[in-house]
Symmetry: D3
Subunit: 238 residues, 6 copies
């Protein structure tokens, strides 16, 4: 149930029944030949499909995240840590004011992991809410399914290549990309990292057959749904 | 042309041809019986439809804005001024890094007007970009068209009621809402403001016939398109 | 009644009787041949004259505001948005601690309008105070009086030219200045804006006869006085 | 020469001749029976009188400073350290942009001393300006003159009691106030500090004869004038 | 080579030869019966022992980190994310000013991982330095050695129990602690987390024999030394 | 009693008995031929030796402070004011959460004095704690003892030269350094200040005989111990 399909009276009724909600977060950044919005599209979609049968509201996706290492690639947008933290603080304060006290952040981008630390900080500050960060693509079952399909599932390779993240005008290259020197990339400035990394894929096949891709997706949706279901602590309504 | 339909190579080619881009910004807040996301939906949509024939890229909409006065209505999310400013600073820094130096912010929410002041500040700081804030709903031609249709076009009334912002399960009330005491509302705390304001419509008809509504929309799209076209100053590529 | 004419015991007695106070805010920025402090002088003076017969205390004027677009003119001082917001937050917190819970901000400078948004934010945060922003020069009656005197009343023209904002050594030019291209100015960097704008007057006569000017001033004082009087909500003493 | 008596062309000419300027800073806080604005009045006045014969411009006084320990006294306004620092950063950046690179901050309030540390930080950051903090009342000659008149010259006693800081309706008590337990006050919360401190005078006579007071003032003006004169380092125009 | 054993002339000579340096970071937080400073002690010590034969300078350890989830345990100190980020920004700016442009942060506490994201951000901002985060206890070889000794090596259990982190007056309990419900702990407020977690050990033996512990330590020192050695990118001296 | 020698149960018992604690703070900066860490070493050591017989816990020293004026000397680390303030805010909030409400900050560096202003601000904000700043080297008795030994006791001269701050490889120069022009240094940029100041000693003998030095140290320890003892206000446990 998307917040965009609700008005304020709907939310008032909903939160009286169930205090859970979902907040997806992505990143606009290079994904080789794929859409710059892969992480926005996938985090929003996995949250929506997971939440739907549960009737838990999903807030609009935060499209921008932290990705300084890709700033040499045109189109990429990166936030400073303090900015993303401020944004999350204010949104979570608003969700809590509405009465949502069990909040699942569905994250689609590895660079956003500091959001998990913020969640712990806010739980300590407020003392009456629970916030959990769900990195949908590397939750245990989804990561296992990825490895089952191909040993290398990583940034901008087949693992993020779904019918809805591909661009018709930019088909995936054939074959597999050799693994770049990731240790060198991590220690390099963005311009140098781009020189090493080339198109942006972190190695492995650019695409696998759709049957496998959709199987991975289904696992991701189911595991995200389980995360929405719990575990949640008992909390008093504030 | 949505950024979500582009990869980084597309943007690299585009910015070499044309340094304009569009950034829509909305708000998640009460809109009476309409979607909580009216301002998100409309700012994204008007930007997309306006930009399409021009081939100017549209970045993902920032869904959250400043709306402290509606915080007594469930579902509403508000950002502190400093947070929205930080978010805009970082996004604009990223757009500039990519090479976009003529940026139109298409705003769908009156409470976000401080973004205009920030644009002026960034233009002074950088000295090599132009940023303009376009409040699509109250730009001169669109505001005139609104007055032509009905003397009262305001928050959550017919002026924001389009086929894509209505909820099937929550039809508009019949008739016209008497104008609430806006001076009292502005001086009141959110809880008191809600008591005065009731469902959230600022007065006037909840809905007009679709022909009139779509005529208003068409004016808004055209005026936004003209704003994308200019005026823009001559700027050296940084 | 100026705070500078009171000691702490005076304020203690005053706030027990009446919880209203006034905070003027200006800007140090180019005003063509007029004083750099036009907005400081006028906001302080209009607040003082308006408050005097009501016995409502007026705090010292904040002389610095947001004016990034004039930074190419020597002498101009501009604050970042976050700075002005922090300043207002702290001052208002102090006024509230003293017991003032109905605060009228008398603003003399268009660039400071984000202060209004902050007022709304603080009213939502505290829940026990009322803050209103009064832009004295464009309140309805004062703006109507301006149009009555001359169709163009704007920055640094006759509308801000009073006996107390003129400099003896720098008389106003004769005649009327043609309106500059304001759309181009708004989209330009400060250096380019100065090239277009020249002396800094936004167009129209530099000066009118004193009788008209003082009539405008009288309207401004009376409308500001009415704003101090209300409307104010009922508020419990915190 | 007050900035309020100058327009932007005046400043442009002045800074071409001489890159010094003066920025006074005060505090609105309890001063026993004296005006709440003692530190605003004195810092502005001493700066003005000192600068006048030198023709060095004096910017409008910043009326608000850091005084958390007096917050239990009505009328007092205090800024957080970060706020005052942000304000000073932005103002100094603006002065530097205009071309002023030798800036004397004339301070009238002990609680503002962190401004001196900020000056050092900005000098290190910019590398092309000089900023000096002048605490006018405890500069060596003025402090010596104070001791010469009476061994105890301190907050809100005779040392701050001038014809222009007195209130006609609130004459000074006769005699001398016994010194309160300052160590206890410094370790106490504001409420407790007020209980110990009573009217707010830190001890000693509330007033001395005007001849002595004006002699002290004259010393303060002269020593402030000497501080405006130098020493200043050689600096390249930026 | 500790910075405390160097003066500024020593550093000037050193940085002319080798631009690497090491910055350890810890946390003051509950570690069951062990010292509250386990993460401070170990990160400083592993950095020192690793750097010594290489002659690379080690800066004083930052003793405080992010640990909001342990705030119900007395003695624990936690920083907000923004605070730790500000601290790291300023220290790294200072190291870079001195000429150190290859900086290894040796981290002893899992909660500090946002420091890695900051390093990436600073590398993008500066474009002329390399910053790497080394979590000494879970680097690949050290983590493998841990698993070799006992399948559960975790917070406050044997893995952090060394002769220099034990307290003579508080011997380790005998035996193994059953694994607590970590999913429940992560979703809980600090008070509730303490109730579940008890003494603070995350499960497994409180202590193993010293031979095994010191073997783990030796692996940690060697792997940290290897991290100081590289890989580092080629960087121009700024 | 060092916090590093305590576990959380120890602190829980301690704070039930006595709510005092000590927080030392230093600076990493040039000290001529002495260790870059003089202020870290001394503030930690004086706090430890002073607290030991009282059984009051001493938290780990904050090694980094504010020293922008020495940034032209290699190895120096300086924090912005806002950073040090944020750090102190968070640490003090944590100490207060544990139950420590009488906090002595033992400072070893003159540039950190803004910490005293912050303490006053936090006391006003919380209303239930007492924070005192103790500048150990210029407390009255210690400063008097310094003057007794030699009229000039200042930065990096004999006054900071103890067996534990000397470096074996860098003996002190013989004789006395002529006093540099401190007024010129304070008004200068860091690079220029280094040119004037040379090795970094602010004048006077680089070293005196150990008997005198240790006598000074003993006075500093005793005066710091007295400061830990009080005066402290009566405070309710929060």
């Amino acid at each position: 149930m998307m917040i965009s399909d609700m008005n304020w009276m709907d939310v008032e009724r909903q939160v009286a029944r169930d205090t859970r909600c979902v907040l997806p977060i992505g990143s606009v950044e290079q994904h080789a030949q794929l859409s710059l919005c892969v992480d926005v599209i996938n985090s929003e979609r996995v949250a929506r499909e997971a939440a739907e049968p549960l009737g838990v509201p999903v807030y609009p996706v935060i499209p921008y995240g932290m990705t300084p290492y890709f700033t040499a690639y045109p189109g990429t947008v990166t936030l400073r840590i303090e900015t993303l933290m401020a944004l999350m603080r204010d949104i979570i304060a608003s969700l809590r004011r509405t009465g949502f006290n069990r909040i699942l952040i569905v994250n689609g981008h590895g660079g956003n992991s500091a959001v998990g630390a913020l969640g712990q900080e806010l739980m300590a500050d407020y003392g009456d809410i629970s916030i959990r960060l769900h990195n949908w693509w590397n939750a245990p079952l989804t990561a296992a399914k990825t490895r089952e399909i191909h040993p290398i599932g990583t940034h901008a390779n087949w693992m993020e290549n779904f019918p809805w993240t591909r661009l018709a005008h930019a088909p995936a290259p054939e074959g597999e990309k050799p693994a770049p020197d990731m240790a060198a990339i991590r220690a390099a400035t963005p311009q140098k990292a781009r020189e090493i990394l080339g198109d942006g894929n972190f190695g492995g096949p650019w695409q696998v057959d759709d049957e496998a891709a959709l199987e991975l997706w289904k696992t991701g949706v189911e595991e995200t749904r389980a995360a929405i279901e719990g575990p949640w602590p008992e909390l008093e309504r504030s």
